[in-house]
């Protein structure tokens, strides 16, 4: 496959604008790709029993972008993907909006499912992006870790 040909600068984006899953799916489409799998992470209205009003994301942007590029290249190599793209929101995100969209294409579907899942799992554990949740019950907002639990001292 065309491993390693995805250094296009528009395949990894951190943005304050709403995400467009369809645009990503178009970005990874290719005449040699028979399968596109995409993952959309949506902000939910509750978390650990508390109603969530909204979220804020921040990142170490230089480092996060570089880690995402590295993960994209690793996924393309390891799973034989044709293309992969990852967009993540920063700043305030309303409930029900997409915080992250990942789309990958491959000749056959198994690689696309495995590659997409690898990317969202790796993003959660190894990319310096942080999420702050604001609650309806008036309690202080929490920074939420990769396990879903609040980060605390």
């Amino acid at each position: 496959m065309a491993a390693g040909n995805m250094s296009e600068s528009n395949s990894i984006v951190l943005t304050r604008a709403p995400l467009d899953a369809r645009a990503l799916e178009r970005l990874v489409a290719d005449p040699g790709a028979g399968a596109v799998v995409s993952f959309v992470g949506l902000t939910r209205d509750h978390h650990l029993g508390r109603r969530v009003l909204g979220l804020e994301y921040e990142a170490h942007e230089i480092l996060a972008k570089r880690m995402l590029e590295k993960l994209r290249d690793e996924a393309i190599q390891r799973f034989g993907l044709v293309r992969a793209a990852i967009y993540h929101r920063l700043g305030r995100v309303e409930i029900g909006e997409a915080s992250v969209v990942i789309a990958v294409s491959s000749a056959h579907r198994a690689a696309a499912f495995d590659g997409c899942r690898f990317l969202i799992d790796a993003l959660k554990t190894s990319v310096p992006i942080w999420k702050k949740e604001f609650y309806a019950d008036g309690s202080a907002p929490d920074w939420v870790g990769p396990d879903g639990n609040p980060v605390s001292i």
Partner: protein, 82 residues
């Protein structure tokens, strides 16, 4: 040796600052020594120290990675992307 240490997200909010200069001791200081200096300055973060990631000059670095005079070191609390 003096390094610039930058804080993010949970750390920045708890500390009430974005960065500070920390003195790091030892003959060949590494990223682990910077974390130790951070904990000495802010002992309330001792428990969290093990789960911090460290970036040296905008590259993720293991605890053994060398840190030079004037380096930029980022302390990264547990991630929450996705």
């Amino acid at each position: 040796m003096i390094v610039s240490v930058f804080y993010h997200a949970f750390l920045r909010e708890k500390l009430g600052r974005e960065s500070e200069l920390l003195a790091v001791f030892g003959e060949a200081p590494n990223a682990g020594a910077v974390v130790d200096a951070f904990v000495s300055a802010h002992p309330e973060f001792a428990r969290l120290a093990g789960s911090l990631n460290v970036a040296v000059n905008d590259e993720i670095a293991g605890r053994a990675a060398a840190v030079n005079e004037g380096a930029r070191v980022d302390l990264l609390p547990p991630y929450g992307g996705g």
